[in-house]
Structures are given as C-alpha cells and as structure tokens.
Symmetry: none
C-alpha cells in the first residue's frame, strides 16, 4: 500500500537509471518543494537536464509534469490541514473514543486562530460595537444556534440587536429595515443554504455590511462579505464541528463588551446598577 509520493519514489528508485535516480534523490532531500518549482529549476538542482526530470515523473506514473505537481500539492494540503501538534500532545493514554474528538477540536481551534489576526478581530469588534447601526444575526440549519448564542449576549450590552429566526419569508421581509450602517452576521457552513446566499446577496445590495462565519471552504456568501471568518470544522465524526466558530464568536462577544465598557457606554453602567 503506497500512499505518498515519497514512498512511491523510494519504492521504485532501485529500478531507475542514474540520471533519474539523482532527480529522485534531490527531490527526497528537500521534499516536496523542489517538485513544486519549474522543470528547469528542478533539473538544475539535480544537475541533470529537463527531459530527465520529465522522464522521471513519467516513470512514477504521471501523465505530465503539472499532474505530478498537483499530486504533491494535494499531499501538502493534507499535511497542513491536520497539523503536527497531534504528535506533540501526549498521545492520549486512554485510547478511548473521546480523545480523538478533543484532539481534533483543539487543533481546529489553534488552526482557526492562527489564520485570524488581532487586527481582523479588532476591526470586526469595532464594527459590531458601533452603535450607530443595527445588528442582525442569522444562521443555517446547524449554525442558527450560534447566531442565537451571539445575539443573546450582544442584545444585553447594546440596543438594536436582532436575531432572525423562523420562516424564510419572515426574516426576508426584515430586509426593509436594513441599510448602510447596519451589520449582518451570517453563519453558514456546508452544505451552504441557497436561501441564506440569496438573503446575503440582497442585503449586500442594500449596502449592509456582512460578517460571515463559515468553514475553510468558504460559503459563496464570502463574495458579499466585508469580513470572513473561516473556521476549521474537520473532526472524526459524521458531523462537522462548529466549535471553532463558537469560540471565535465568544471572543468577539468579549471584545465588543470590553470595547463598549471602554467607550463608557452608559448602558453598561445602567446594567451593572441593575444587578
């Protein structure tokens, strides 16, 4: 069973002529980056000619050089998706069904935040804390609870926060209330819902600023979104995980709260006095 190209190479390197073997060795030596460069660069690094490189990849079973490169990229993609941190954490003493799920979620969280800069979050917080406009939140079949969760918090610390729920026709009519100064927070992960996409498009046309929570494959709504948060969702389960998006949402909630406190919003002080 050969799964990676590196294995494939070491499997067949014995049957290769001298020139191609040099190509194979240089590729293994700094795998896989040389293979992603041009044939000319690859050949120069290996000290052979271009056709030798092409014969080398042909011997590996690829039709042409681009196909070979695509395979390398796919392999890299798989590596980058599931980071090596899995090996860093103690390999779960109890090999139960629990740990894999937890480990994957921890990875997802780290990966999601790794792609999220402080500045990006600060921008979104500023937008959400801007009390001149209204804030609408909506989610898809499985993500609507996330919208609810966020709305439940935001609605306490500021006015004009609305969670859009129920029948499509109901929240579609709320478009009338939306304008340039308003923000629409949408949660949409695979499989992306047409109704949400249409809703987002119309809102966008009305000048509404869209903050999109989606997965790493990006909902089509990303086209219209001002800010996109791409969370990792892969876990060893039949379902995708929304945990990363959930934590980002909590982070934003905390940020907006802090922001409003800093702004000295009297609403916050009033709230405190109410307790």
């Amino acid at each position: 069973m050969i799964s990676s190209i590196a294995e494939l190479i070491s499997d067949r390197i014995g049957t290769m002529p001298a020139g191609e073997r040099r190509a194979a060795q240089t590729l293994i030596a700094n795998y896989p980056l040389i293979g992603l460069k041009t044939v000319a660069e690859f050949s120069a690094a290996a000290g052979v000619s271009s056709p030798t490189i092409l014969r080398f990849v042909a011997r590996l079973g690829f039709q042409n050089y681009p196909e070979f490169q695509s395979a390398l990229q796919d392999e890299l993609a798989a590596q980058l998706q599931s980071p090596a941190s899995r090996t860093l954490n103690p390999p779960s003493p109890n090999g139960g069904a629990v740990s894999p799920m937890l480990e994957a979620t921890l990875d997802n969280l780290r990966e999601t935040f790794r792609h999220l800069s402080d500045k990006q979050l600060a921008d979104i917080v500023a937008k959400l804390a801007d009390r001149r406009g209204k804030t609408f939140l909506i989610g898809g079949r499985f993500t609507d609870p996330l919208a609810r969760y966020m709305a439940a918090h935001l609605a306490i610390i500021q006015p004009n926060v609305f969670h859009l729920a129920g029948q499509e026709s109901v929240w579609r009519d709320r478009l009338i209330d939306m304008g340039k100064r308003d923000v629409l927070v949408i949660f949409d992960i695979r499989r992306y819902q047409d109704s949400l996409v249409r809703f987002a498009e119309t809102a966008h046309q009305r000048g509404v600023q869209i903050v999109l929570f989606t997965d790493q494959w990006l909902s089509p709504i990303a086209r219209f979104a001002r800010h996109v948060i791409a969370g990792r969702t892969a876990v060893p389960s039949a379902w995708d995980s929304s945990a990363a998006l959930f934590v980002v949402a909590e982070t934003l909630i905390g940020g907006v709260t802090r922001q409003l406190e800093a702004d000295g919003a009297k609403r916050i002080r009033e709230l405190e006095s109410l307790r």
Copy 2:
C-alpha cells in the same frame, strides 16, 4: 516587524478593495496552497478575475506572480524544516485580545475532558441512543442555543427528540409527556435559573433521567441528575464561556451517531439514501 506573507496580508487587508480582499481571504483560508497554484485557479477559487489576483500580489509588494510564489515556497520550506516554528501569527507578545481568550479556552477544554471519563461519556451516549424513550432538551438564557444545537443534530438521526423552547408555561406542560424511559438534557450555568431547577425537580420526580450540562460550581439541578457534565467556563472576559460544554455536546452527538450506525438503525440507512 512583518515576517510572513500571511501577516503582511492581514496587515493590509483593510486597505484593499473588495475584489482583492476576497483574494486575500481565500488565500488565508487555505494558506498557502492556493497561492502555489496558477493565477487562473487562484482567481477561480476566489471568484474574481485573473487581473484582480495579479493586482493583489502587486499590492503586497511583489513584482510579479512567480516572485510571489517563490516567497510562499521559501516560507513553506522554512516551516517544513522546523515543524515547531509553525506559528503563523507570532504568539502575540503584545497583550492582544486574541491569545488570552484562546489559551483559556484550550485550557478549559483540556480540564473539562480530564475530569470526564470515557465510561461516563459512553454511558450517556448509550442512554441517548436508546430509542425506546424520548429525548428532551432545554437550556437557560445563554445555554439554550447549546440545547438547540444538540437537538438539531439528534433529531435527524433518531425520532422523538424535542427541544423545549419559548415560554416557561409551554414547556412546563410538556412534563405530562415525560416518563421513566425518557431523557431530559438540561444546560444550566450560573446564574442558575429557578425555573429550570423547578422543572428539573418535577421531571426527576416523574422518573425522567436527567443529563445535566453545567459549570464547575454545579447547578443545584445536579441533585436530581443521573449524569453531570461539569465544564470549565472561566475566560478573560466579562462573560463565562460555554465552549467546553459545546465541545462535549459535539462529542456526544458524534458518539450517538456512531452508536446508532453500529446498531444498524435503518433510519440511518434511509437517511443516507435520501441524500
């Protein structure tokens, strides 16, 4: 000090026009592989035209596309050499608002699961997957979305799953439907809601098995609960975090799904054929 291209992007993404921002977002979303593909593929993935991609890389300061790709490859090479230094965002030495929140959440997850045995989870899974009884879910002010999230998934893979929402009087009347074989999943964290406690007590008297999601200080409902899941909730924010409970919920959802598949429930097969 900007060291990686990803930082460079998140630094300037604010000043970019819409199209280029979409390019930036898709690149960040699956970094850096899209950038290693051709301009045509990159543009298709981002949903923009080729020139927009080229303008995007030009704005980042690169003379041409190949130069941009080389930079990405160099970065990848450095990463692959030392897997430990895979930090895209530097560990934010500036007390940025991001990391503390993330770190605390990661800790909470680990702690929560540390106090949770495989057996405990397996028991709950078995209980939830037992299709002889009904499953009810309910939550408090902030945790109701968690109940919704769990209900949304469970209701697909098995019948007789009900999320109790709306007015207290409404779900209180549903007590009539509950009996010994039924399960009631309650989410309740500080400040514990009296209405929920009363509800749980009555349900308990009727013989309903209660699965309680609460925080580490334990809701009074714990008295009546058959199973208690105590999640860590402390984060550097004005609000408590429900992330740990969320992840436990996802773990249970995954477990129940696997269980029902193993039981060969025909509902699961029917579902698959429906897709």
